[in-house]
Symmetry: D2
Subunit: 339 residues, 4 copies
């Protein structure tokens, strides 16, 4: 590799700093040269200095207009994603954007059109595709050695409740949490979802029903290739981050269990204990965050398609909308209804 | 225990012989004294002699009318179950009946009414409740230590296709195969199903669609206690009998993996192999068949309720009918619609 | 199979009854026709009747002299084994004898000579060879697919202490407990032990040292084929019967974990629990006891060698003696020293 | 934390670069400011620049004499360790030294005396103590919840043969490979080894016997606290890096399995595959290398003892010598013989 991708980071909140640290320390093919955040302050400047970032701005335009910057990581709040994509595209920057692009289909389509017109690359942050476990399921199915997929299963449970203040503005479980799983089933099935039926309930007593939301859900789906799928969700597993995937095919089944904190087994007269699953996404998907950044840089340096493109940003939002309609109306909803 | 339950066996086909051998060899609290089968022949007589059975008949009435017989095991073809239950009840015999009682709700109800009127005990052969694994899931949930159930999951896949001649007359996947899973979800949830939505497809190419049947299905359900449930089925797993259950609750999750043929791990440069799941129900549920017979005898000797009673025989048939309607009509179906 | 092996049982203690029940109920190729026990009483007669055994004797000679009996199961106390083998052999009966044949090499050799002279078959009760797990290790090694064995490992721990009254007369840990493991390493290595070095200690505080015995031991050994071996023993694992075997070979490794009570995993915020290993030999080796009886009957009916013959009865006793010498003298002991 | 530990790296070979990258990227509490290597070249200078290291030297004295440097990482060849420890100690630098300190006891003792006289901190690179799995075994034993340790077991197998050119000068399996395991058993037992007996053989055909070395070994040991231990080694597991530890105690057992490449299970009619163990120490102990560097920095910043001190550097070498004597002389060797 002759050169490195010079990157500007847009947004230095929790997920922005996570990407920033990976880009600075764990992705040899990039240089992280600038960060912009409307709430730029001394703490963020100190963090940036520790990361070796040369320039700190409040105004993202400083990044978009810097001719030495090749690509941006958009890690700002969701409501700014579509606009920043368009501004970055217009400026000719390649774009990594955290999920979701937006919760409005028209805004997503407008952003994707801008990307296409500009001819820049776009990668959407569906990080779980880069997890060693889920990728193994995908690769096994995609290899064809098990024949065609019949049943695609995803178990996805967060370790504990988010604050109700967050839930109030989260957009609902399907748009906030299951959206990752909607991406995952498309990835594993290698096919588009055509219909969903969603069941949901607020069972925990934590108060989701106050906001018309649920904490427990099961969503069935049909795929274009004939396969059937199912996702089960809980907002609070308590024992850790429960992230299992499975595809049953013509000739057999591939499934992955959770990564555990360790491989210990303690056996006494009282019983046998093993380790809990890793606690949450930072622990579970740490290497996947690095891998997705490496993949983005590779796509730029080798001028190939990014592994998670514009359509991958659009479809999960549409499926989430269909699931929401299904839950509210108590009926199967075809994706063709979502416009 | 002062005395033994004297048992007559009705039907000496595959499942009848399986029960007969367990009753003769593995259930100390019973005496198997007679067998009736319309196709009684020398081979069956020889088998009966080997089991120490004194009397062999063609006519089941000989069993029903024998005053020394306390109870019958009805293992004849499904279309005779309801009638034999009524005749046995009228004769004052306690009744173990293989599943399903019938596929017609009125006939089931008539049979159950006869049982109630006669005051005899009835146990229906949902054997999986007696499996050490599924029972552990049930007992953990029922103990209340995990709080209320939120998500009930059953994976149930047969090892390989049945002959199409069988499929043609099987009554369809829900009545023939999933009926066990419908019993299982009621058992695990500790609550009745109120609504189901079923997806199904014929994906294997083995010909199920010729008979309006499917080989792959996912069924979601709601329970009275608020929990949600899901079953996934395949007619042909190929790697063995895949029978996993899981209940996610307020405070955590209990799940069971498959019993394997052995605990071996073979590691080489080419990869790591472990054993396959046990092949089919004979291998997997052998001890459960014994345990259900012991439980039936215990209920008689101690004059307690049988663990799987008349309602347990009725409800899975109703759920199967609802699932079938859902699949055909493409909509959620409430159990209250099934009359 | 045209005919059955008619068997007489010598000794109706715990292990005798265990064999008797298997022979009566689970081994179709035999008829258990007689039992002899010097302490014959009503309880044993009732048990025998329940098993369908026709004749109950105090004097084993009644069994040895019955011309209709083909074979005997010698399950009496160890100090009678050698004599009963000789009497049975002289009477032309095939012999299954519980382990060990004797703890005196000359008496073993005398018994084996009598067997050879009489031309009857002898099988020694090293039941673990018939366990599905250990057999899988053996068969994998014996198949040659992993190349030659390099390291043979056995972990063997009893669930809890035996009464000190038993320990006092047990002959010591090597002769009483490790003798099974000495048979196992020969079986797995496919080669004879040439040297052992034993470490042992009384660490539990249960009082083994009062009798010059140990509760904890590690024994290394060399095999004729060059492989090295190691056994670790504890008298009290507390969590169950810990019985693991492993062979590391030229091209890889085969190992078996314990059979567990069930396949459940219970996950909560407090931790993750799985099932304990099965408690003791009755639970763990139940099917192996049946399989060894089937194999004995097969060897008679097909006139083939028994799978565990006279030399297999002799060698573990010699290895146990070498281990005992090694522990007492603090040095490696060659098997050639044991005469 | 107010300040950072300024570190100079001595030796920029494979293990030096590994430590350098961790110090530069993954240990926030240090600044890696200099590197010295007698073979300093453009490639190493470029690597150093990428790591943000300011100074590159051929002569380590430049590092020892730099008053701004607080501590050194000695990653040079083993024969230089003792001398560099002494020079660093004299210069008042804290010292992290890769294992082993030396293979000559007098040189080790001389180096340790210099460290003690200078009052600087010394940590020896027994990295496995910082692995999440082995640490869990240690912490469980050290907590006392299982009572006293009875049996300490280590399985340690490298994935494949080293080149014979390396084996020729490696010092033999015990000093080169088992030395890590000798440290591990001391760490897990919480007690010193008092005696060892070693068995070894060259079984692979790769040629170890040409150099008087072995490729397969089993070593038993006794500990001061009464516990017994055993290590089994192979130079070539082929399926990956097999690193399992286990301690059986008064009240139960704690054991760890290998970390695997992923948690996938692929089930077909042909069998069931799971992932292989991670390949070698870079994959398996990556996080442990970071953790040991963090622990070293912490000890300096908080002025506490390092977790792996001088005695921990000395004892494994003595045990390795005892094992070597045992193998050559065919007898148990007490540690008190090694002087």
């Amino acid at each position: 590799m002759e050169t490195k991708v010079r990157i500007g980071l847009i947004g230095a909140g929790r997920i922005g700093k996570l990407h920033g640290e990976n880009l600075a320390h764990a992705v040899p093919s990039v240089d992280l040269v600038a960060v912009a955040d409307p709430f730029m302050n001394d703490a963020t400047r100190a963090w940036a200095e520790g990361m070796g970032i040369q320039s700190c701005y409040e105004d993202p335009e400083k990044v978009f207009s810097d001719p030495l910057i090749d690509a941006v990581f958009i890690c700002s709040s969701t409501n700014t994603h579509a606009e920043f994509i368009m501004r970055a595209a217009k400026a000719g920057k390649h774009i990594f954007c955290e999920k979701p692009i937006d919760t409005n289909l028209d805004k997503i389509r407008e952003a994707l059109a801008a990307v296409e017109q500009a001819g820049v690359k776009l990668q959407v942050g569906f990080v779980r595709r880069f997890d060693h476990n889920h990728k193994m399921v995908h690769d096994t199915v995609a290899s064809g050695r098990l024949g065609k997929p019949h049943i695609v299963k995803v178990t996805s449970r967060d370790p504990d409740h988010q604050p109700m203040d967050y839930i109030k503005v989260s957009g609902g479980i399907f748009m906030d949490m299951t959206i990752h799983d909607f991406d995952m089933v498309r990835y594993l099935a290698g096919s588009e979802v055509t219909e969903v039926t969603a069941y949901g309930a607020a069972l925990s007593g934590a108060g989701y029903d106050q906001y018309g939301d649920v904490d427990t859900a099961i969503i069935m789906m049909k795929f274009e290739n004939g396969a059937l799928g199912v996702i089960d969700n809980s907002r609070a597993a308590h024992y850790g981050y429960d992230q299992r995937t499975e595809v049953h095919c013509d000739k057999g089944c591939v499934q992955v269990a959770n990564d555990l904190n360790d491989q210990a087994m303690i056996s006494t007269g009282d019983g046998v204990e093993i380790a809990k699953p890793t606690w949450f996404f930072l622990e579970r998907y740490n290497n996947a965050f690095i891998a997705e950044a490496v993949a983005f840089a590779d796509a730029i340096l080798k001028n190939t398609d990014t592994p998670v493109g514009g359509k991958d940003g659009l479809m999960p939002v549409m499926i989430a909308m269909a699931a929401d309609t299904s839950l509210r109306e108590g009926r199967p909803v075809k994706l063709s209804e979502i416009v």
